[in-house]
Structures are given as C-alpha cells and as structure tokens.
C-alpha cells in the first residue's frame, strides 16, 4: 500500500488464544465478502486455528481469551516480549468475559464437582491487561469483524483508532429496531458502547453488555429507570456481570 507518498508494509501479525471459545478468531475468517483482501492486507505468521507453522517474528499479536492457568501467564508474557503491539481481541481478553463469572465460585469445590479426584489446575480468571500491558482492546462477544477490519486498516496505515463513544441505542435507531425496553425487556443498550451495529436487540434479545460501558454512561439514571420498569437489582447486576465489562459497578450495593 502506497498512499500520500507513504509506504505502508504489510504488518506481520500473530493470533493467539487462551481461556476462550475461539469465536473471535473465527470472526477473522468470517465476513467472506472481504476475506481475501483482509488476509492479503497483513502477513499472518502465526495463527494456530487456521494455519500450520509458527513464526516468531511478528509485530502485532492479537490475543484472544482470558488468563486462568499458570502456563497461560508464561505464554502471554513471552508474547508480550516479542510483540511491538499487543491487541486484546474480544470480551474475554478485554474483561475476562463470561469466564469471569467463575471467580464468584469456590474453585476447589468447582474442580471437585467437574473432575472429581483428578482436579486440574485453574486460577481465578484475569483479563489480559491484568497480566501484561495491552496496547489496544477490541471488545465484543464475539468481536465485530467490521470493527476488526477497520482497526487492521488503521494498523496497516499506522494511524490512531477511536471507538465510538456513544451507546448502542444509536445503532438500534439506525436499523429501526423498536426499543426492547419499550417492549418490556431489560436492555443495557443505553450504557453500553456502540460499534457492534446492535444485532442482539434486532434479533429480539436485549443488550447484555459484551462491549463494556460507553463513554461516561449515566448509570444512576439507567438503574432508576430499569427499577421503575420492574427489573430487580439482582437482574441488573447479573446482566452487568455477565461479560465482565462492568467490573466494580453494582446497583443496590450488594452482589
């Protein structure tokens, strides 16, 4: 790519995964209409899910998943050591994701319940940035490929990227989705960062907050209006805790 008389080489990227479902990696192979140019825009040197051969000379590492085992901590640190830029891909990497709910349970008992007398190693779930410094976080469960594409273009051209500051409501309006709160469902849309194009409310599911909070959300008013509509503090808290993006935010003082 040569533009404005600036040469932009294809960045060498690697994709790694940790405690996760690999759904975000899968998005990298989705959005088929632009898949070929997407794969051509970068040089993939390490991507276990789709390619054999593990190059170590990458500049940008995309890391999917939360961290929940000691070998993962070591592996992540090694990746951080090699990558010029470390990108947390998806809600698990950014916030711990659904995995974070595990931390609310006794891990010993959990292990005994699942594995009986042969327990497996497990640590409380952490997000990537809780273990190593992160340069860029792309939230979403799964991530939006469109957003990933935009970010990759910015990485190729080496210009700063900004996420939408506003909440999901804007994108529901854009696609004529009738407000689910008006239909009687709980929806975190008013306090969650847009950029997903609001597929969930359009599919009949209120927002569960996988992208984390929008910029300066009005939590107090949101809690008040949700309560007014008959939703309990427990419901709201469970919803906000689901993807880990609202860590530390609680309505009603108990959790």
């Amino acid at each position: 790519m040569r533009y404005l008389h600036i040469d932009s080489p294809r960045p060498r990227i690697a994709v790694f995964d940790f405690t996760d479902c690999e759904g975000c990696e899968l998005q990298l192979a989705n959005k088929e209409e632009t898949l070929v140019p997407f794969l051509n825009a970068v040089e993939i040197v390490n991507f276990r899910e789709i390619a054999t051969g593990a190059g170590e000379d990458y500049e940008i590492a995309f890391v999917e998943g939360a961290i929940s085992r000691s070998d993962e901590v070591e592996r992540l640190k090694a990746i951080r050591g090699k990558a010029r830029l470390l990108v947390a891909l998806g809600s698990c990497a950014c916030f711990g994701g659904v995995n974070r709910m595990k931390n609310a349970y006794d891990l010993g008992a959990a292990n005994a319940e699942i594995y009986g007398r042969t327990p497996k190693e497990t640590l409380p779930v952490r997000s990537v940035k809780e273990v190593v410094p992160v340069d860029l976080e792309i939230p979403g469960c799964p991530v939006s490929k469109d957003e990933v594409e935009r970010i990759v273009r910015h990485l190729v051209l080496d210009v700063p990227f900004a996420f939408h500051a506003y909440p999901v409501c804007v994108e529901c309006k854009q696609r004529f989705t009738t407000c689910l709160m008006e239909k009687g469902q709980l929806c975190l849309g008013p306090i969650v960062r847009a950029g997903c194009e609001a597929p969930c409310p359009a599919g009949g599911l209120g927002c569960w907050g996988c992208r984390g909070p929008a910029e300066a959300p009005n939590l107090e008013e949101f809690f008040a209006l949700a309560r007014e509509r008959g939703f309990t503090d427990q419901e709201i808290n469970e919803r906000m805790a689901f993807f880990g993006g609202f860590e530390g935010v609680v309505v009603g003082g108990t959790r």
Binding site: Y3, L4, H5, I6, L157, D158, V159, P160
Partner: protein
C-alpha cells in the same frame, strides 16, 4: 409513479461558470466536490506543527480559488477524512495555499507523515474574514498566542504587503516556550517592513532565551494606543483572547473593533452538520472570525 424529476446535476463546466461566492449564497450544487491539489513542499516549524504549501492542480481552478485573510479551507485526505484549517498564507498569492497544521487527530497525523508530491483535496474557502477593508487608514494591532499565529499570518501578510493602507502596525506574539514559536525564520523579514513593530514574548524562557518573558498582555503596556483609530485582531485560545480583549477594552478600544477567530470542529463547512454550533451560531459560516462583542454574546463561546 414513474418519470419523476431527475435530480439536478452539475458538471464541472457549469460550476466553473458560476462565481465562487465565498460563504454567501452559493449555488454550487456539488457540495462535496474538492479541488485536487498537490502538497508542493513541507516545512517543519516546531515539533508539532508543519507548514504545507499546497497547489491546486487544475490551472483554471487554481486561478479561481481566491480567499480573504481569516478564512479556512476543508483539507480532504481521501480515505481518512477532512479537517478545517485556517489559511496561513497571503491572499495575493495565487500560486499556492499555505496551511500551518498541528498534529492533533487522525487526519492531521496522516498529513504529518505525507511527503511532498502527495495529493490532497481542498474545499472552500469558507467562513468570515478579518475586516481588512475596514481597517484601512487605522492603527492595527495583530496579536497572537500559540497556534493563533497561523490564521493571523494571513492578516500579517496582508498588512505588510499593503503597508501604506495602514497607520501604526504592531504585531504581538506569545507562546508557552521558545520552541513553540511558529514562523521564527520570518520575524526578521516582518520587522524590516517599514513601520511594523514585532514583539515576541514567552511564558517560560529557559536557557538561552534572551527575549521577553511573561504573558502577551504585558506587551500591550508599552504600546501607545489611540483607541478610536485602532483595530485589533486577536488569535489564540479562548483564555488568551479573553484576557487580551479585556485589556484592550480597558485601553478604550471598542469591542466592535476587536476581532477574534474561534475554533470548533467543522464537519461540513456549510452550516449543515451543526457540529461547530455555538448557541445558535454556526462557526463555519457566521465565523470563524467574529467581532468581540458578538463573540461574548454567543452562548457558551468562551
């Protein structure tokens, strides 16, 4: 309902036949067409600011592009976006347009990486201008703080090029530190123009600085001012022009004869997007140059 009216279309030829009526009721219909231009040279002014010389490629379009000091253009970097930039060069120069651009957002950082020869687009010019015609036969105070020198430079160049039109001319310029001084290589040239006084001041001098230290308002203390025969143009951040204008007010200059240039983020330049609105005023078409009376009466302006 077939055969409804087709949309009105404008060809380049038709458009060229229309007078380019800056910021008055323009009939130009292809509102987003840009002049294709080339960055002919780039000068690093400070760590964050570069001066771009930009030449419109089509000779007829180049000839047609004229502006008044204080106006701005939308600089289009295709694929990245548009940014509003005040013209820093002389209105009499038909060869190229000078833009002093600070690296701040996405588009400006791309521009900072561009090399000479790169092609960009220009839309405009837009907005109101400094009242150079009214200033004729008056004393002139040209005061800038920081990046404010960029829009003010077009006024400075107008005044120096038409020196005989004006009485006493004072240019006062202040920045935070010496390394932020813009166009330092031109100060000598401006000073040599007969009867132009240039004073520079910085807030924090540091080693090697032998010039004045303090706020730009300090420079005003030493200038003899004839309030009823003086125009002032003040460019800089709101906090700076507020202090300067208050001081000028104390010296007896009427607010209607002080002019300031306001900064907002224009997206369209045509008074449509509302992003640059201050209260009910569009900075892009009612501004960016306002007299100080109007400016202080804009809700939330300062």
């Amino acid at each position: 309902m077939k055969n409804l009216l087709l949309p009105y279309e404008v060809t380049k030829e038709a458009e060229m036949a229309e007078p380019l009526d800056f910021n008055r009721r323009s009939r130009l219909m292809n509102t987003h067409r840009v002049f294709k231009a080339e960055i002919s040279s780039i000068t690093q002014l400070t760590e964050k600011e570069k001066l771009f010389h930009i030449r419109i490629l089509d000779p007829a379009e180049r000839q047609r592009f004229t502006f008044l000091p204080g106006q701005f253009v939308m600089v289009e970097v295709p694929g990245y976006g548009e940014v509003p930039i005040s013209i820093a060069g002389s209105a009499s120069n038909r060869g190229f347009i000078e833009l002093c651009i600070r690296r701040a957002g996405m588009v400006t950082s791309v521009l900072h990486r561009a090399k000479a020869g790169a092609r960009v687009g220009l839309r405009g010019p837009f907005g109101t201008s400094f009242p150079v015609a009214m200033m004729k036969d008056h004393h002139v105070l040209l005061i800038a703080g920081g990046l404010g020198l960029a829009p003010l430079r077009s006024a400075i160049l107008h005044v120096t090029e038409n020196r005989s039109d004006f009485r006493n001319v004072h240019i006062l310029y202040g920045t935070k530190s010496p390394d932020q001084l813009l166009f330092d290589y031109q100060y000598e040239q401006w000073r040599r123009v007969d009867g132009v006084n240039l004073s520079i001041i910085v807030e924090e001098g540091g080693d090697g600085w032998t010039g004045e230290v303090g706020l730009v308002t300090r420079l005003l203390d030493r200038i003899p001012i004839e309030p009823d025969r003086t125009y002032a143009i003040v460019c800089g951040p709101p906090v700076m022009f507020k202090f300067v204008c208050n001081k000028l007010g104390e010296l007896g200059i009427p607010m209607r004869r002080m002019f300031v240039s306001l900064e907002r983020r224009m997206h369209c330049g045509m008074g449509k997007c509302c992003r640059c609105n201050i209260g009910s005023t569009f900075t892009c078409k009612d501004g960016p140059v306002f007299d100080y009376w109007t400016a202080i009466n804009l809700k939330e302006a300062i």
